[in-house]
Amino acid sequence: MTDIKEFVTDYIQREYTVPEDVDIMTLNYIDAGYIDSMAFIQFISTIEDEFDIEFEVEDIDNPELRIVGKLIDFIKSKVKEQQ
């Protein structure tokens, strides 16, 4: 299975590489502009497809999941639930 952390961090850096001095795990990828707010829903659907999980509407609205590390933890827990 694809490594969750690698998948998320690669996706976020599709257009721009996060500078080395930035702690990527605490980065708010929407506020920092790595994912445009309009593109957020596409990001979520890509994660759903890749890991065969489903985000509830309240998950999509949860501001915590805009933080890279929290999102990775969330995906991990969802994948675990599935298994």
Binding site: R14, D31, A32, D36, M38, I41, S45, D49, V57
Partner: protein
């Protein structure tokens, strides 16, 4: 006899590099380059591409991000007489493939992540070369080789300025792309017109804060480098990144999208930001800014404030300075010297000119107009009456010749200055089996001006929820086309002939109490 005519656009840039090698040419995302460094980069890219077989007249697709490298590639393209086709990297791969076909792209330059995504989805074939911008990728040349290339400017002859420099893709993901063909001469003429109108000099620091795959940012990065000024290129836009850049990089001039300015003002107010004092002039484009927002921005930023009107096909058509034309506050201004406007009556033959104050379609004849739509000569002819390009916008002219914008004739949603064709969204939503019929429409939004909304009639006995629609669209449409609002309605407003009345959907929803 050998004709040694070279690219005027590239010449102007190289001349600045020769005269001011140590001057800062560009800043982007914490990196800077002097004119000498930038000229070396442009030459290296040119030598690299030539060594890999890129030839005069070739088309190169590039899913483009905002970076110093992307800017250098514009000048490389000019110097080699090749055409760059900047693409929105967030477009679904199918749309990218359609765009590449319609633009006859021979080569592809992309980031590793793009090439890798393509690979996962069945690959993408190009008749020429593939180049990976950031590292190594199997089957692609690596741009790392650029460092070994000579910095001497390659000899490229016979560039007369009519060569296509940029194809700007204007289309949705499912419609036929309409590539706007912009020549080298177009770009130079457009830059010179803006330099004159806004009194720009070598001392200006010119900020570009929109994506480089749109004509506005292209203009704002090419212009300073042929003028000998400094280009400040925002890597990506958020109001916070813009403010920080404005504080630290001290730009003096920018053309911004009106939706951006409204967001910036909100943040300035929230944070009581004080340090933005470098602007001499700000121009707002794409939609009229509310007067209140304008006044507050002027108070906070203490600079000249302009609004402009134009299209990607014609470049800027009119301009107005807020402080200099106080009695024309609702106008988008007077035409540039290069342009002439005519308001035509909206009737069958579309040829009668409107009287002063009468609303009709804004048409424009301008020396800055693009070459046309690539390989769609008929389409440009169809959009032109007597040499005047029909913009699809409605407006009127007053007794002093000032133009006023009055809405749009075309069924178009403009979200954050990007055009969305409702049919493209309809086509995707209609693919859902539970949809009886649907129609995308423009919904007012404080941040983006407008957002995409969709009204859906669900088939009898079927169920459909918002999440399903949004997720389906997420997989099939580009980011800017995503519907922000979904309304499930009993019917769509139609005229007696059964034709959809898209402009009545919003009021229908409001009246029926669907907008909760």
């Amino acid at each position: 006899m050998i004709n040694t005519m070279r690219s005027q656009l590239a010449d102007l840039f190289y001349q600045n590099a020769a005269e001011m090698p140590q001057k800062q040419a560009i800043w982007c995302d914490g990196k800077t380059a002097t004119y000498k460094e930038m000229a070396d980069l442009v030459s290296r890219y040119s030598n690299f591409l030539v060594s890999k077989g890129v030839e005069y007249g070739d088309h190169i697709a590039i899913p483009m991000n905002n970076s110093i490298e992307s800017v250098a590639l514009f000048f490389t393209a000019a110097d080699l007489g090749v055409c760059l086709v900047p693409l929105n990297p967030t477009l679904p791969l199918d749309s990218i493939k359609v765009a590449m076909l319609s633009g006859d792209m021979k080569h592809l330059i992309a980031r590793k992540s793009f090439l890798s995504d393509c690979e996962k989805q069945g690959g993408i074939n190009v008749p020429g070369i593939k180049v990976c911008l950031d590292g190594d990728f199997e089957g692609a040349y690596s741009f790392n080789e650029v460092a070994q290339m000579p910095t001497t400017r390659p000899t490229c002859e016979n560039i007369n300025g009519d060569e296509s420099l940029i194809l700007t893709m204007t289309s949705g993901s499912t419609g036929t792309p309409k590539p706007i063909d912009i020549s080298q001469k177009n770009k130079v003429d457009r830059s010179l017109a803006h330099i004159r109108v806004y009194g720009l000099t070598k001392d200006d620091r010119i900020l570009a804060a929109t994506p480089l795959y749109h004509s506005l940012a292209e203009r704002l990065v090419i212009l300073p480098l042929i003028l000998g000024a400094t280009s400040i290129l925002l890597p990506r836009f958020t109001p916070a990144i813009w403010l920080k850049c404005a504080e630290e990089q001290k730009p003096t001039f920018t053309i911004a999208v009106s939706a951006q300015l409204a967001q910036i003002l909100d943040l300035i107010k929230q944070t009581d930001a004080q340090g933005i004092d470098s602007f001499r002039c700000i121009v707002s484009s794409s939609a009229l800014l509310e007067e209140k927002v304008k006044l507050e921005l002027i108070e906070r930023l203490k600079c000249e404030f302009h609004e402009m009107y134009g299209t990607s096909e014609t470049s800027t058509v009119t301009d107005i300075c807020f402080q200099k034309a106080r009695n024309k506050q609702k106008s988008v201004g007077l035409p540039f010297d290069e342009a002439e406007i005519k308001i035509l009556r909206d009737d069958e033959d579309n040829e009668l000119e409107c009287a002063v104050g009468e609303v009709g379609e804004i048409t424009c004849k301008s020396k800055l107009t693009c070459k046309g739509y690539y390989k769609l000569k008929n389409m440009m002819e169809m959009a032109t009456t007597d040499g005047f390009f029909r913009t699809g916008d409605l407006g009127y002219v007053d007794e002093d010749g000032y133009l006023y914008f009055a809405g749009r004739k075309k069924e178009l949603i403009i979200t954050g200055a990007i055009n969305v064709y409702p049919n493209d969204v309809d086509a995707v939503v209609n693919q859902l089996t539970a949809v009886e019929e649907c129609a995308a429409f423009s919904y007012p939004d404080e941040r983006l001006g407008e957002v995409v909304a969709v009204a859906i009639v669900v088939k009898d006995g079927c169920e459909l929820n918002e999440r399903t629609v949004k997720m389906y669209c997420a997989r099939k449409l580009a980011d800017f086309q995503q519907p922000h609002k979904i309304f499930f309605v009993d019917m769509l407003p139609k005229n007696t002939m059964g034709k959809l009345q898209r402009n009545r959907i919003l009021s229908h929803i409001m009246n029926m109490g669907f907008d909760k």
